[in-house]
Amino acid sequence: MTFDLVLCGVGGQGVLSTAYVIDHAAVDAGLHFKQPEIHGMSQRGGAVSAQVRLGSAPIASDLISTGEAKAVLSVEPMESLRYLSLLSSDGWVFTDVTPLKNMAGYPDTAKLYDVLFSLPHVVAVNATKLAAKAGASKAQNMVVLGAAASHLPFPVELLEKHLRALFQVKGEHVVTANLKAFRMGLAASAFGAALIARGVSAPIAARVVARLDFDATPVAEDVLNAWVERLLRSDAEALSKRVLAAGDSLPLEAQLPAKLA
């Protein structure tokens, strides 16, 4: 078994913390790993990335080859597209949907989303918003990790264990907030998967997931049912695009989907 991952974002967004949690979980699970990362100049607000290579046998190269990554975990939507040449054709992209425009010529958000949501397997979450709600505005990285967690080759509990270990020195409230952020991501991802399992088309599900205001617990059954019902209607695609473009985050209320015109 080999499992290659690209972690990316912008300098200062905590890409290396995500790597720390995955590395330690992998060792705990008895997997071999190698994990290159970028230090230096690009950490001044430029594009940064790390790679994680996991395997049941020893790993030769530190670097991932073209088309071999199983997933990209990104803390910024445009950055999530930067390393697609490494992603296998059935690979997943997990990303924060909130643009960080610290540069000239940032693309038009609508166009960016068109490309992002055209990917076959994407879980985009409003990690910036959710992290703030969890009580740690810097915890977007943990929301994204949570969103990807069930796709990684070891139990979610191992990630939680090492997430705790990482933040322990910063105090219990930081641990709690990051854990909350992580579980919000987990809930978002599970919700998206449940929509798809119930017949909602993947891009429609992905756009709605990007705007929902998840909690650190799984989404209630009645809310899920309401969304399934709404998103199986013929205008669901247009609705999902409107919801995404509006940018407002939608509360997890069972009455809401039916009210959306």
Partner: protein, 556 residues
Amino acid sequence: MTQEILLGDEAVARGAIDAGLSAAYAYPGTPSTEIFETIHSLTKQHHLPIRGFWSTNEKVALEEAIGVSYCGKRAMVSMKHVGLNVAADPFMNVAVAGAWGGLVLAVADDPSMHSSQNEQDSRSFADFAQVLCVEPADQQEAYELAREAFEVSERLRVPVVLRLVTRLAHSRALVTLGERRTQNELRYVEDDGLYTLIPSNARRAYAGLIDKQPALQKFSEEHRLNALTIRGEGKPGIIVSGIAWTYLREALGPKLDDFNVLRVSVYPLPVGKVRELLDHSSELMIVEEGYPFIERFVSALGLFREKPVKGKLTGHVPRIGELNPDLLRKTFGLPVKTSLAVAGLEDVLMARPPRLCDACPHGDSYNLINEVRRELDSSMRVMGDIGCYALGYSKPYQAINSCLCMGSSIGMAIGAAHAGISPSLCVIGDGTFTHTGMNALLDAVIENTNIKVFILDNSIVAMTGGQPTTMSDAHLEELVAGLGVKKAHVRTITPVPQKHAENLAIVREELAYQGLSVIIARRACVRYVKEIKEHKRERDAAHAHEGDCANCSGNC
């Protein structure tokens, strides 16, 4: 048996500590910085009796390490590849003098120039000095070769270069650690003449270095990591070195069995094994990270090939940039996987270059410089230097027009003045100024050259991650005046938008003066606030300390 997740840099640090290291010196530089950071933080954390600090520059760092070696103890000095240029003088000469206590230079190269000005290959430097070089392929070997380097340095009495590349320096893996050896006792070098290189001694010492060559060669020929595998008569052969070994295994997988292979991790090149490989093989492909260093030896510049020798010189392996498994697949004619195809990607994926942080003090200094430049002569160029402020070359500032090597701005500004530019402006960081800028300033003092030196004092070495500067605060004014710059023309400003007009008046006054001016723009970096406080606390404590260095734990 303990195992830890370590960066390549951290593995080198641990190997050095476990080899019985007594002192470590370094100058920060990506990708080498974490070597000393690790030694320093473990020393503090576990109260290890290891001395050392961030030195003023790489030359001084190496000289400090040589002093330790002279006294019989083990020392490591770490730096990025271009740092060895600064340290080249002591390096070339300590090669002649030899090591007494184990002396290891951990030098990190940066193929692809992720954070550097060039791709120079430190194996060439080790060869130039005629000393040993070890080149680990992975984190475990980084640990083991660091340990072993001290042992062989002491045994064969040569300094050893441990060559790293960015990918290994900055990649993590699980490393198995060994027992820690105790430190050496203090014991002066027996023959001080070896370190007193007046010509009569130098000839003797150099003959000694030449005499050592067969032993170095033997060490390399016999080394377990210079492994020759002959799989069949007349099969094609591969010589592969350092981290390229990991890429080659990844790229070829089981197809590796179709080749005779010589792995190289220790230099001088094991030429006996190369000969053997060549004898058994139909042709050679040479796969190495960096310069075509091995290839040039083996192919004698391509002039005298008995069998085809392929590699970087022949265009079979890319000459520029770091290698990876995909590039090697192409070299060996193997397919590269296809990746996810996405329509419209180019329209929405833009470059995101690094930039100055919001509210960075350098930005305000550049606004000032740009304004006076517009007044004087908008085509005027400003000599720049290396640090965060080098980002001022790009938009929106476009305020500097050079960035060659650390400390170069002042000398280049003097040269420009001599070429006819008056006044001639330059910009240098506080860290870079004390690294190698101050010598150049002395030249300007002697002549009272009409240059305007802006020292951007942000109280830290920021670019490389927040290491302490040697001089900032009022000490910097004293230093500049002490070098002989007229006090009236050492001006200090605070680069904040509110003081723009006031600062502009000061700069205009200095521009009107036909001689050497130094304008210190002082405001702390906004990103490394915590580190600045911590370094200041440590520096004040060190200044206050007087006493017995020999019996110091290093934590005073």
